[in-house]
């Protein structure tokens, strides 16, 4: 390139200077045109990246709301599950057991025949003693209370029995036993229903947790895409700066070359 330039200047300095200027102008306009194309391309990339960032930010916000909702629903479902489980335990366990105990006592009285009043007194005393000893030994207070109530009820029945006939007492005991058995069955069934509702809420809690995991994964994916868009934007800006710098250097170099040639001519 250097040799070619020296040959041209040796043969026809004016013509060579003219053609060199034309060539420089061509290079300059070519470089500028190239710069324009490159800058346009980078501007398109930047605009795309900016749009991606805006959309990603909006989506991220929506996902965070959905994630918070899912977590809130899971917490509510857990609370409901605990509440219905508690009710199920009360009906299916405590009430059913007390009713079962009453039914058992009633059945004993009903089948006791003529010895029923004596049997009632014995049972009442035994229940009362059991409640006292149980309380001292740290038995469940609910059970102690149930024993005391049963003792009082049985004692009352024994008083009634002293004035009524044994047959009437047996009839009453049978009715009490029937009611107690019905209550026990109903409490068991109600407890089962409440436990079923509790299980349904627990399943709903797991579903909500699954949805929360889904939203979290989407959140991570959108966050990564957002990072990509930022990197793309940063890269486009850097590339644009470099391209501008490069073309500027080319133009500067052409200018320097022209100056050098002009000085030389």
């Amino acid at each position: 390139m250097v040799a070619v330039a020296s040959n041209i200047s040796a043969t026809d300095p004016w013509q060579s200077a003219s053609s060199s200027v034309d060539c420089t102008q061509a290079n300059l306009s070519g470089a500028c045109a190239l710069l324009a194309i490159l800058v346009k391309t980078q501007a398109i990339s930047q605009a795309g990246a900016r749009t991606d960032i805006e959309l990603g930010a909006q989506k991220l916000e929506e996902l965070k709301k959905q994630l918070a909702d899912a977590i809130h629903q899971a917490e509510e479902a857990a609370d409901q599950s605990g509440f219905f489980g508690f009710l199920g335990d009360i009906f299916g366990s405590d009430i059913a057991q007390i009713a079962g105990a009453v039914a058992a006592v009633a059945a004993t009285i009903a089948t006791g025949g003529a010895a029923a009043p004596l049997l009632l007194l014995t049972i009442s005393a035994a229940l009362q003693a059991g409640a006292k000893v149980g309380a001292e030994l740290g038995l469940d207070p609910k059970l102690c209370m149930a024993l005391s109530i049963a003792s009082a009820a049985v004692g009352l029945c024994s008083g009634v029995g002293s004035v009524q006939s044994a047959t009437a007492l047996a009839d009453g005991a049978r009715k009490v036993g029937l009611v107690a058995n019905v209550v026990q069955g109903g409490a068991t069934a109600t407890g089962g229903v409440f436990h079923g509702i509790s299980g349904e809420y627990h399943a709903q809690q797991l579903d909500d947790q699954a949805e929360a995991v889904r939203y979290q994964a989407q959140d991570v994916a959108v966050d990564l895409a957002l990072q990509d868009a930022f990197a793309l934007l940063q890269n486009a800006l850097r590339t644009q700066q470099r391209e501008t710098s490069t073309v500027s250097t080319i133009v500067q170099n052409d200018s320097d070359t022209n100056t050098a040639l002009s000085n030389r001519i």
Binding site: M1, D171, T188, E200, Q216
Partner: protein, 195 residues
């Protein structure tokens, strides 16, 4: 005949070297990006599997709870039926009613009582077998997918860092190449001025 090493040759050599380096860094960056994309796909895939496993666990819990509830309600119903039949039998015995009817009531009471005890005893194991154990299996499965997803996320993060590093190195090489070109241009201009 010897050939002098000219400025354009050295520029060309530097350019070729820079091009090679940029190509290497570009390949490295592309490879890291592919690794990152694969890791992200793996993360999303594992997250989806975790979600599916949790839904299956929820369904199993629901089925177990419903089955147990049905058994318990049936047990309560049978208990009531047994008590009613037993009451009829007792009243019949006390009032000296038809012996056949009393026997029938007693048989019914025993049958209902047996059914109540059976369905009540079946409820808890059924809930454990159909619901809880299956749900726990799938929850463990979900946990495994969660762990895999976390690993994939770490891999994606490492690959992203590697790609950024390669990009930065490529930028440095480009800056270096620009400097070399600028020096070469200055030299050429100086030579032109000297000629």
């Amino acid at each position: 005949m010897t050939q002098a090493i000219t400025g354009s040759n050295s520029t060309s050599f530097a350019g070729e070297l820079a091009t090679l380096l940029i190509q290497i860094e570009s390949n490295q960056s592309e490879s890291s990006r592919l690794t990152r994309d694969a890791a992200r796909e793996s993360y999303l895939d594992n997250a989806q599997k975790q979600v599916d496993a949790l839904h299956v666990a929820a369904d199993a819990t629901r089925v177990g709870a419903v089955a147990a509830a049905v058994c318990t309600v049936a047990s309560g119903g049978f208990s009531i039926a047994a008590a009613s039949a037993q009451f009829d039998a007792d009243v019949g015995k006390a009032t000296n009613c038809n012996a056949l009817q009393v026997a029938s009531d007693e048989l019914n009471a025993k049958l209902f009582d047996a059914a109540a005890k059976t369905s009540g005893a079946v409820a808890t194991p059924l809930k454990s077998f159909v619901g809880d154990s299956t749900a726990e299996d799938f929850q463990a499965e979900a946990k495994r997918f969660e762990t895999r997803g976390e690993q994939a996320k770490w891999q994606a993060g490492d690959a992203s860092s590697s790609a950024e590093k390669a990009d930065r190195l490529g930028d440095k090489v480009l800056d270096l190449l620009q400097g070399i070109q600028s020096d070469a241009n200055n030299s050429t201009n100086a030579i032109i001025g000297r000629i």
